[in-house]
Symmetry: C2
Subunit: 154 residues, 2 copies
DNA sequence: TCCTTATTGCAACTGACTTTCAAATTATAG
DNA sequence: CTATAATTTGAAAGTCAGTTGCAATAAGGA
């Protein structure tokens, strides 16, 4: 009879376990934060949320877990045009790549999928004989809302 | 009768002067390094080269000049997939945007222009009503050469 | 040339991330 | 249910890239 689990194992956890990695209490906590995040979080935000679930977690463990997920291609690292310092943001790798648009005025991040983007990647793989592992398309500019409420923009 | 100039004023210098910025010896030196660079240079490489022309230049001045050029849209800042730490690389803004491909094995950076990329940007401006100021498309993967000489790749 | 303002250089600082290493924990073998 | 071997963790110190404060200096117009 199965014991009640403190955490419902998510896809990230299942992925890591299937690759033979040890599942510690800290890892489970950090993975659950990454899984349930509704926006792009940076390392310190992830740490704060993980600590709400397990106050003992250290930030090195967060960095190490993020590195692990990155190496296994399970999360993507974003710069979001470095609008708030040099920190990085993370999101679970989606099935289909998308573009991140960052509004230089209000800071809003918009995601956009496009067939043209998929075709562009195909062209690169073919024409350059380049095997794509990870892509990052970030665009800085002014969103529709800021364009209509502000005159002074580039 | 014009005095002999130590530096032939380049396009970056002309641009900054036309915008009413003061042209100092240090700026002229840094601009000339940026203008004549044949590869993507980071701040410390730029400093080293600038110091060969003027040993007194401080690294803060390099950072401030890069910030100035960035704000004026005269150079683009690249991450090149953060393959060598978190530093940034710089290049003069080209007339036509291009893609940077970074080989995760040999580190080679390849540039690629594409009509599909131009069309993708047009689509974003139209469909998202987003006014594009700067784009950064970086791709990590394996170049043609590394694909044929190495079996162990992602 | 003088004068105002922008720019520089130094030193100290910051923030994000990494390394080191002993102690704790995990998965596995018995 | 141990014992064991290997992985993972946390705490502290360190690194690296870039920034800030401020007094001294230099640019460019009057």
């Amino acid at each position: 009879m199965p014991l009640p689990e403190t955490e419902i194992p998510g896809r990230l956890q299942a992925e890591l376990m299937s690759r033979g990695l040890r599942m510690t209490r800290q890892r489970r906590t950090i993975l659950s934060v990454v899984e349930t995040a509704k926006q792009h979080l940076d390392a310190s935000q992830l740490l704060r949320r993980a600590r709400r679930l397990d106050p003992q977690i250290d930030r090195v463990t967060v960095y190490r877990t993020l590195g692990l997920l990155k190496r296994h291609g399970l999360i993507d690292e974003l710069d979001l045009m470095h609008m708030q310092g040099e920190k990085h943001f993370y999101e679970r790798r989606p099935q289909r790549d998308h573009i991140h648009m960052a509004c230089l005025r209000c800071g809003k991040i918009t995601e956009f999928e496009s067939d043209l983007f998929d075709r562009l990647k195909g062209q690169i793989q073919r024409d350059c004989r380049f095997h794509i592992v990870v892509t990052r398309l970030e665009i800085g500019g002014y969103c529709a809302q800021c364009r209509s409420t502000d005159q002074a923009q580039d």
